[in-house]
Amino acid sequence: MSERRLPPVTQLGMLSLALIVVGGIYLAAHLPEHVPLGPAIALLAASALVLAVNMFLLSRVRDFAWDQFFQVGGWSLLAYLVIAGIIEYTFLRNHLRGGTLVILTLSLVVFAVHVPMLVGFTVARYADSSEGRVAT
């Protein structure tokens, strides 16, 4: 099985998800107290930066099964937007407001974009494996 070098999309995706999870736990653990938003903003910004870096690195890959990536990623995006929407509804139902709501909503956006990207990437990297070339 021949191997091919690809950017560490899965590892970066997990790092990005871990950062927003830590931010979410930080905010949730302090309810209903007012908590400094700085750490949560920093974690969200770091997560979004990792997402942007991940997209950039992936966009530079040549000879990639982009059709399959966008097909699988698109349907996954739809599914994760529904999931994120239900979670967002729970926040709104409980009258979450202000900076906390903005941070959690943006965290959901990162979540809803990054997970489909990981699914699309994992499928697309093996797209032509049956013809002999297989990614690492």
């Binding site: 736990i25 309810l31 699988v72 996954s76 409980n94 990981l118 994992t122 797209a127 494996s129 049956s130």
Partner: protein
Amino acid sequence: MADTAISVPAVPEPQSVAAAPPFERPDFQIVPRRGLVLVAVAAVALIVAIAANKLWPLTFLHVAGGAAWTIIDLFLGLVLGPIIGRMSIPARVEFTTRLMPKMVLIMPTVVTITLAAGWQLGIKTGNVLSIAPNHSWVVASYIVVGVMAVLALGLLEPANIAVLFELKKPRPNPQVIERLMKRFIYCAGILGVMQIATLVIMTKMASG
């Protein structure tokens, strides 16, 4: 259902997918269409329960969803996983093509129901508030669920879907299937062990 013949080159490794002789692979849908109806019903039930904010529906959805999530992870990771690893290649492929499409629908649905209903329940009962007596256990549950979520979303779910796409090909690559299934089974095993921590936390909170 129509079966598709798959020719796999023989390699002298009895437990490896690469060693598989030609085998039959049942036809399947990567996302079972009929299952989407049940997913939609579950999603509507969740939204109605959150909107109504009544104790029983929220408790039901959180407990039923959480029990399903815990049992599936434990059973898949610690019981089925090792069994699948020792199956013959044709049996493993047939089992995979029947199990994995269902997992594509079941796991995200069960996890979303458990977490959303659990959060709403925690708000209603006050358990998620920092003044609650069991708050440290609640935070511990956030951490366990957070680690599980990163593993499930980053490794397990993509592997689940990718192995189904590989199996759909006219000539699936056995090495790719083996690699993705290993990732899926090991990940499920880790999640199964972490579910024991969830059980400890939830029973501790329930018993006060």
